[in-house]
Amino acid sequence: MAAKPTTFGSFHNGIALSKKIAGGFHSLKSCDIHSQAGAATGSFAFEKTSGTIVDNLPDSSVTLPSGDSFFATSSSGKIWKVTTSGVTSLVHTNTQGVNFGLGYFMGYLYYASATKLGRIAESNASSEATWSSQTDSWATFTNTNVHPIKMEEQNASLFIPNRNYVAAVNSAGVFEAASLDLQSQHSITTCIPAGTGLLIGTWVGNYHNQAGLFLWDTYSPSYIVDSYIDEAGVNAFIRGEMIFIQAGLVGNIYYWSGEKAVLYKRLRDGDTVIVTGINPSGAANLNGLPLFTTRQGIYSLGRGDASLPVAQNIEYVYSATNTITPGAIQVVGGQIFTGWKNFDGVTTTYGIDKLSNNKSYAIITTCQAKGVIKSVKVFYDSIPAGTSISARVNKDNSGFVTHDLVQDDGDERCFRSVVDVMSKSSAQFEITLVSSGSNSPIIDAIVVQ
């Protein structure tokens, strides 16, 4: 018996819990689902902007008020400058070794090595093609940093994670080596302003699933609230309409209730488990849309309006497409810069991407439609010159194969199956919006019947 038509059209719902759950999609890649609620089109494509200058994973970053961004790596002492147009240059190699974090506070760019805090005046950081006025050992940490960290400003101080201590630079330029101490098993990865306080996230270890969250007013001798998540660690805080917490190894997202972390979502990409780890600078916010870097690409976790659900979506994919290690991300106006490492099976390459003027190929995988499926129709709102729509089908869970579509530009304005699918029990469709330059198809609905 032929199945009733199933319409996949609420693109603003984003990626669903699984292919079994209606209302969303099994996977969305390079897909803009927020610009026009109910429609989908290709996102802008990333292009590598760093040439061959970047030779390790840029995993920390900061943007100065001038618009110049700086990226650093925990694999060497190198610090790169990226201008607003994406021109990338090596400006400094830290004589104190690898860099674990960058921050900006009251006219200075700060950079943390394992044992020292360096700094350079903001104007010199931008103007000196090769830094000469920096001080790599401006201050000495109590503990030895061992992983990337995120610095944050709150209450007129810059707070700097230093294993189980929080160090700080106050508004008088005084370095506070031990502003706060936590129990010694904690290693602080990141912090974020939370109300008038500072929320601190820690890593404990892959085999000791007690990641800590500590809320501190930044003045008192100790924290106000402590809470634990049964995860290896807090990888990043993500700024959004609430504070999202990316924790653990499998892509879990929590939110901060004010006193504890509450499980919110798990990042999904079809049946692929999303591998996550410490990446405190891998989060940003573009025009109210929270973004987070992963191996799959840049996830968005937001909505275009309060009347819509918070959706997860792989908003952008990197210019490199093999095995990616995600790095830091910076939003500069409407531009995004993000660092990555790519292994193609033979060679490892590194880079910093920026958004180009071209659209990506958007790939949309529907959830599973049950029954005897005959055909698919992809209804479009716009199909600019040079663009098209293609499909693959996964019939009865036998794997995706090419499924030819033909454009019916008559009354229906759709692309439809050339030959019947004739599944026995189920079918899933992978629809590709084939872009051309700065244009991409805009679709309204995918109807399976």
């Binding site: 031990a178 129990q183 001798p221």
Partner: protein, 56 residues
């Protein structure tokens, strides 16, 4: 210009962290480490913190 470093001797965390005396010992160890890289001009010990003045 002199650089200033402070080291808090607060009792620390609610549970399991160092006592004030332990923190004082850690602060003294930190100061010894500073001496290896820096010229210390003056150290002031207050009830709840050390203030360390470093030559530039």
């Amino acid at each position: 210009m002199t650089r200033i470093v402070t080291y808090n001797l607060v009792a620390g965390s609610h549970v399991g962290a160092e006592t004030k005396e332990q923190k004082r010992q850690l602060a003294l160890e930190y100061i010894e480490r500073l001496k290896q890289d820096e010229t210390i001009e003056e150290i002031q010990e207050e009830p709840n913190r050390f203030i360390i003045y470093l030559a530039n």
